[in-house]
Amino acid sequence: MSTPNSNFYKKDIVPVSIFALIFLTMPLWFSWIGGYGGLDTKIVIWVIFAVGFDLLLGYMGYLSFGHAAFFGTSAYVTGLMLLHYSDNIIPAFFMGVLAAVIMALIIGQLTLKRSGIYFSILTLAFGEMLHSLVLSTLQDWTGGDNGLTGLPTPMLFDLKMQGHNVYYLAVFIAIIMYYLARRIVRSPFGLMLSAIKTNPTRLEYTGVNVARYKLAGFVISAAYAGVAGALMIIYEPYVASEFMGWHLSGQVVIMSVIGGIGTLFGPMIGAAFMLYFENVASVALGGAWLLVLGLIFMFIVIFLPGGFVEAGRKVRARFFGGAS
């Protein structure tokens, strides 16, 4: 007889395996659909970013427009570590993510006390503040507009982090992060996050320290952004100032919503779609790719708020009957 625990662990096997399979084999079939090497790594990085973002938006219900603050902070710290400390990626990666977490603790304290609207505005503002700092005040450290250049080739001990090496490192990390997200969502902690989205006042009166759960959820999603940011520098050792900008924050919002928030799975699809669209489909559309994407985004927000995942469910219901 299977105990509840073994059933519990079993639930993750199939999805995580499929995830692993797709991404481990991607370099083999990616070029058939027009992808080029390097784009696959970027997709994996954004998948990590989007999955963490979904925890905050889809599950906890908080829309952050400033997640570039964490991606960017991690990117800069990782870059600075590589530049000034050692080309070994391990301390750089660790410090990058740590920096993102600390930044999230600070920003979270200031922004989470407010309601959702206020929160969205404030996260946008803080993101822009960091962007401004990086461009002007701290430019001696960050390279200002030009970004942080001259980074050495990142090394994992004796292994050069280039090409396929980076790709498989990213996939390895992505598999872990995805599994983690699944576990979080299905734990009592995850239940509390969902309760925050549904009825935070009631939750408070039920004896739950809502403020602390909010901060924890926020920090976890920032950690995901930090992992993505660090990986981005390991993949391409150059820190662009755009990594702190609202454009990046906006991109993760767009891809998560297009994919379908609250599913973990949706934002992954959204990430892959958006990157694919930007790099491959834009050949036909040229400079107007973001305009088209923006229109798709608006269409989804207005008519299909559940994104591609909802669309998929509807299609399945239509053609295969049964409960949708």
């Binding site: 969205s120 822009e128 609202w246 985004f297 207005i302």
Partner: protein
């Protein structure tokens, strides 16, 4: 000494003048309709582009009248066609759809006009400098200031005054002010708030339009300008107090002055608005003039 302080004050007022128009529109829309319009900066930007095109084609006088009018109509269409459907939807959806609109407007302008800064020359009657020392006795020596910047400041003050007059002295204004306090109550009283919502939204957008057509020559006219102005405008609204119009006015000029007086230290000037916002958030979360409990 007096000169430089005076000039700094003037610059501060001029900076604040543009912020005030954008943030007033934002605050009005938020206070009455409860909608956070992430597309508001894009409206400013759109007006600036229209200003470039129309002033070049038909002259400035036409542009000054036509652009705000176009934006008013655009506001009506936006409210009726899009925003209205989101009143009952969760706040995050409202933010997402207006954000999407901002992106679409920005990209559409970039696609049509290109990513570069468009030149936006001021009209002859507004160009050149004003010799302030001729008019103001306390100034010492030769003090000049760009005429157009003075005009922008003036237009802004006039618009603010007109808006307040509209709200204070008309029935429409009374309904709007009541609606800002308690929209629910008005519905119970049978007052058709929805038609007025459309007008309020349109007025808010129109004010951003006035800011755009006049402010365009001062700020840049490129596809990034919308977002560049959105963030400070949000912060102004937050600092002044969400839903408080006088607060937005006060905060705008305060920020403008702060930026102007810190201009000698560029590193500070760039982030001073954020610093002020953080201080307010920590010590007076409702903003300078906000009501307690609003948006807690």
């Amino acid at each position: 000494m007096v000169n430089s302080i005076f000039l700094q004050i003037l610059t501060g007022l001029q900076l604040g003048a543009i912020y005030v128009l954008i943030s007033l529109g934002l605050s009005l829309i938020f206070g009455t309709l409860g909608v956070v319009n992430f597309a508001h900066g894009a409206m400013y930007m759109l007006a600036a582009y229209l200003g470039v095109v129309i002033s070049a084609a038909w002259g400035w006088e036409i542009a000054i009248v036509l652009v705000p009018a176009i934006l008013f109509c655009l506001g009506l269409i936006m409210e009726r066609g899009l925003i209205r459907h989101f009143y009952t939807r969760p706040h995050t959806d409202q933010i997402l759809v207006t954000f999407g609109l901002a992106i679409v407007v920005q990209e559409a302008l970039k696609w049509y006009f290109g990513a570069n800064n468009l030149p936006y020359p001021t009209p002859d009657w507004g160009s050149g400098i004003a010799r302030l020392h001729e008019v103001l006795p306390f100034l010492d020596g030769f003090v000049a200031y760009p005429k157009w910047r003075l005009i922008v400041t003036g237009v802004s003050l006039v618009t603010v005054a007109a808006l307040f007059a509209l709200l204070q002295f008309t029935t429409f204004g009374l309904v709007v002010r009541a609606g800002m306090r308690d929209a629910e109550m008005l519905r119970f009283l049978g007052i058709n708030i929805s038609k007025r919502f459309a007008i309020v939204f349109a007025v808010g957008v129109m004010i951003a339009g006035i800011a755009g057509v006049f402010g365009g020559p001062v700020t840049q006219v490129d596809p990034g300008v919308g977002m560049v102005f959105l963030v400070p405008s949000f912060l102004v609204v937050v600092i002044g107090g969400m839903g408080s119009l006088p607060g937005a006015v006060l905060a705008s000029f305060l920020i403008g002055l702060a930026i102007s007086f810190s201009a000698d230290i560029p590193a500070l000037a760039n982030i001073i608005i954020y610093l002020i916002a953080i201080v307010i958030l920590l010590f007076r979360p409702r903003g300078l003039m906000g009501q307690k409990g609003v948006m807690e």
